[in-house]
Subunit: 176 residues, 4 copies
DNA sequence: TTTT
DNA sequence: TTTT
C-alpha cells in the first residue's frame, strides 16, 4: 500500500518530443517549469525555478506532442520515478521523471501558448488520461532511455518512427 | 503561476534524523518507500520500490522525529525540489527532495510502526502542518545540505543540538 | 478543460454495501469520516467531523466490500459529484458523493480495521484503480440512486445480487 | 488522523462576492464549473457540468475578489465542508462548500478572463495561500452564513463593509 | 452561472 | 528551456 502522486501546473520550456520504441510504443518527453517566490530574512524577494522532466506514454504523449508547444501551460498528474543513467562522462547518475497519467491543457481561448488550427478541434483545452496498458508500472513499458534532461538529454530514436495516430484514430478516447 | 504538489503515503526506511542549523532552525530528514506492482508483457508480476527523500523544517520535522520510526506509515504533502551536491568523489550530482508542508501519521491504534507511550497522547494519529516562516520558498531556510540519501546521505550536524521541543511546548500547534 | 479531484484519508463509519444494477454493474457505497481540530478565539479546542459519501463502481467497489470494514482506514481518490434526490418527505435535495477512482487500504499489519484471513492474501494493504469503462463520466453508469447517507441513505437493491467476484477472478487486476 | 483535500481547476460562473463579518473578517464566495465528458453505452457523447461553491477567508478571498472575474480560470486547493441551512421554504438542507486554502490564477497573458489594469501588477497570474489564523478549522471563523448557492444563495452583508485591502497592504503576502 |  |  502506498501513494505516489504528483500534481503540476507549469509551462513547457520546449516543444514536446516523441520517440517510438521498437515495440511501436510512443514515449513523449518535455520539461515544465514551476516557480516559487518568497522573501528571505532580509525581506528580499527571492525566486526559484524548478524544472520537471515529464514522460508520457502512448496516446497521451502523442496528443501532448500534437497540441502542446513551448510556453504552453499544462496540468500534469502523475508519479515520481527515478532512473539511473550514465552520462557521456561515464558517471552514473540518477534522474527523476514525472510519469504522467493525466494531462490537461490550460489557458485556451486566445492563449498564444497553444497550437493553432488543430487546437480548435480540441475545443480549446483538452483532457486526456493514460489508457490501460501503460498505467500500472510503466517501467516495463519504458525501457531505460539512454539519458535524461537537462543534465542528461534523451537521445531521439534513430529508427523510422510510425506516424502519429491521426486525430480520427484517437477521437474515441478524447473526452470531449 | 504554477503548482508543484506531491502527495505520498509510504513507510519510513529508517528513523528520522533532525539536524539544527546555526540559526537554530531544525531540519529533519527521512526516506519513505512507495511501491508499484504491475504485470509485464509476459504476465509476470513485477514490483518496483521508489525511495523518496523527505525534508521537513522546524516543528513539523521535530514532531516527525518524535513520533515516526522506521516502518511508520505516513502521509506527506509537499513539493519537489532539486538540489545540487558533490559527493566524496568530487562529482556534482542532483538529488531531489520532497519538502513537506503537511504530515499525517497513519495506521495508529495497534500498528507497530508507531512510537510507543507518547503515541497514545497523540490520540492515535496526528496531523501537523508547516508553520508560516518556512512555507514560502524554504530554500533560504535550507542551506545546501551536503548529500542526500540513499545515493547521497546527508551528513549529521556536528554541533551541539538544542533539545527537541518538549511536548508541552508544541502542544498549541498540534491540531487535536 | 477542468480538474475535479478529491483525496481523502479517513475511516469507514460502517461496512460497505454493494448493490447490483439491472445491467449487472456493481455500485458500492460507504461513508468515511475526516476530522479537523483547531482552537477557537478563546483558545478552546474545537473539533469537527465531516462525513463523505463514497461511491465505487465495478470491481473497485467489490474489492472494497470484500476488504474494508467499519473502522478501516482508507485512502480514496476521486471526484465530487452532486446528485438530486427526493426524500420520503417528497422534498428535493442535493447530495454530494465522492466517485472514487482509486482506493488504497491503509494501516494493514495488525490494524484491527482490516478484514481477517483474506487480508493476508492482500499482502497487508492493497491498491486498486478504477478500470476503463466507468472512468469517464460514470454518470451514465450510475443511475440516480434514491437517497444518500447519512442524511439520505441509499436504498439497497431488492433484486438477487450476483455473487461478488471471486478473488481469482480479479487477481489480474490487483496490482500486487 | 485524516486527509480532506480537494483540487479544482475551473472557470467562475460570476464575479466573486466578498462579505465582511462583524469581526471584520472577509468571506469571499464564488462558484466554479468543472466539466466531464464521456461516451455512454450507445456511443453518444455526454457532458455534465458540476458547480462548486468556493469559500475563501481573509486576504485570500480579497485577492480573489480583486483579480478574478466571471469566466476566469482558477486553480483552487482546499477541503470539503458541509453546511446546514434553511431555505426560505423553512426546510433544512445541507450544502457543501470548498474552503480554499490556495488559489492560483491560470491562463494569464492575453486571457480575457482576467481583470484588466491591476492584473498587470499581479504579474500575469498570481498565487496566494491562506494565512495562519483561518487555516485550522475555519469553522469558528466562518459563522453560519444564511444560505448557500445555487440552491441557497448567501445573503450579502447589509452592514457597511470595510474597503478591500489596498494592494500595498497585501504586497508582503503575495509571493512574487 | 463558466468555458469550448 | 517556460512564464511574468
Amino acid at each position: 500500500m502506498s501513494v505516489n502522486k504528483v500534481i503540476l501546473v507549469g509551462r513547457l520550456g520546449r516543444d514536446p518530443e516523441t520517440r517510438y520504441m521498437p515495440s511501436g510504443d510512443a514515449v513523449t518527453n518535455f520539461s515544465i517549469a514551476t516557480d516559487e517566490q518568497w522573501r528571505d530574512r532580509n525581506g528580499e524577494r527571492q525566486t526559484r525555478t524548478e524544472w520537471h522532466n515529464i514522460t508520457l506514454f502512448g496516446k497521451l504523449g502523442e496528443i501532448a506532442s500534437q497540441y502542446l508547444r513551448k510556453g504552453s501551460q499544462v496540468f500534469i498528474e502523475g508519479r515520481i520515478q527515478s532512473r539511473k543513467y550514465s552520462g557521456k562522462d561515464g558517471i552514473e547518475r540518477t534522474a527523476y521523471d514525472i510519469i504522467g497519467s493525466e494531462m490537461k491543457m490550460l489557458g485556451s481561448r486566445n492563449d498564444t501558448g497553444a497550437a493553432g488550427g488543430s487546437y480548435d478541434q480540441m475545443g480549446g483545452g483538452a483532457d486526456y488520461a493514460q489508457g490501460g496498458n501503460f498505467s500500472q508500472g510503466g517501467y516495463d513499458a519504458a525501457p531505460a532511455a539512454s539519458s535524461p534532461p537537462p543534465a542528461a538529454p534523451r537521445r531521439q530514436a534513430p529508427r523510422p518512427a510510425p506516424a502519429p495516430a491521426p486525430i480520427d484514430d484517437i477521437d474515441d478516447d478524447i473526452p470531449f
